[in-house]
């Protein structure tokens, strides 16, 4: 179905379904997926220059609000998406992990930039060589630092995952096994 324009405001695309006079039927998965996709609350975990690019992404020029993510959640308990932007020192590792553990399911993780994804140029004793060593990551954004367009591309990829995720995924044995691999209960 085409997006409907109401007073010039573009509304979200509705999922596939059966439509008739006065009713519209679709599966719960799809309806929930659409709602979640367009209201992701990100928690910015910004430690260095990628965080500056993120500020540009949130600003009026690139405007992440266009994708329903303008409401930053500075408490992990209400956040849907953990955006890790910047170098994570080994000493910061346990804190990042605690933030992830405090987030409620369903939760997603976006790793922005070379440092968060692999340690980047900081191949040294004090820097964590990629956050995927301590928490699961859904989407990686390459770049040093990535431009706001790339960060937006990462968010759009997160949206795809959010939209198509089965409602039962987080209860599955595979998901629990995956978390256990990281030592998260």
């Amino acid at each position: 179905m085409e997006p409907v324009a109401l007073n010039g405001v573009k509304v979200a695309e509705s999922p596939d379904g059966i439509e008739g006079a006065g009713f519209f039927a679709t599966s719960l998965d799809k309806a929930v997926g659409m709602a979640r996709k367009n209201s992701i609350w990100p928690l910015p975990f910004a430690t260095s220059c990628c965080g500056i690019e993120f500020m540009a992404t949130m600003g009026s020029h690139y405007d992440l609000a266009r994708f329903g993510s303008e409401r930053l959640s500075f408490s992990p308990r209400q956040a849907d998406l953990l955006m890790v932007m910047g170098t994570i020192a080994k000493k910061m590792g346990p804190i990042l992990r605690q933030v992830y553990e405090q987030m409620a399911e369903p939760r997603w993780v976006l790793s922005v930039g070379a440092c968060a994804s692999s340690g980047g140029i900081f191949d040294t004793y004090s820097v964590l060589q990629g956050i995927d060593r301590i928490i699961p990551v859904d989407v990686y954004v390459p770049g040093c630092p990535p431009r706001p367009e790339q960060i937006i591309d990462g968010i759009l990829n997160i949206q795809k995952l959010v939209e198509n995720e089965s409602l039962r995924r987080r209860d599955s044995a595979e998901y629990k096994a995956m978390l256990n691999k990281y030592g998260i209960e």
């Binding site: 692999s118 191949d123 004090s126």
Partner: protein, 165 residues
């Protein structure tokens, strides 16, 4: 460059008063540097503090000399009255780097000694709280020592061919 009169006087003074501990002196980049044996380093610094007004500890740090099999501790003192600086260097054995704490003279040495312990493993005897200050507490190495490789050995994405080696 020639030493100034004050510098010559300090070198002579230390040579006379602490003959046993004095090794050599040099003035690289106009900065008087005195090499000493570690046994009485604290008494020497206390002497400089009381007699020569070196009452400010600019910095203190470790240096690893693998070719000398030695871990060195370097002290920089500043005489704020006459604006004179001095650098003292002691050499400790690589296997067991131990020296008395300077916190008895300069309380400011506390964190500097913790840092030196953290990165070089120098034990400062009598330090009130000698534990790691910057690195993670469960680290098992002293990362600034040359025997530890610069790069993280657990990294998988680095292909040596791409780095020409």
């Amino acid at each position: 460059m020639e030493n100034t009169e004050t510098e010559d006087r300090i070198v002579t003074l230390l040579k006379e008063k602490f003959t046993e501990d004095f090794i050599s002196s040099e003035t690289p980049y106009q900065f008087l540097t005195i090499h000493l044996r570690p046994a009485n380093i604290i008494s020497i610094i206390r002497f400089l503090y009381t007699q020569e007004k070196f009452q400010y500890l600019t910095t203190l740090c470790g240096i690893h000399y693998p070719e000398l099999k030695s871990i060195s501790v370097m002290y920089q003192l500043h005489n704020l009255v006459e604006n004179k600086r001095i650098r003292l260097k002691i050499f400790l054995p690589e296997g067991k780097p131990e020296v008395d704490t300077l916190t008895t003279v300069f309380p400011a040495a506390n964190w500097m000694e913790r840092e030196t312990y953290d990165f070089y493993g120098v034990t400062f005897k009598g330090h009130p709280n000698l534990k790691r200050i910057l690195n993670v507490e469960d680290m098992i190495m002293f990362p600034m020592r040359k025997e530890f490789p610069l790069e993280d050995q657990t990294r998988e994405d680095k292909n040596n061919a791409m780095f020409g080696r």
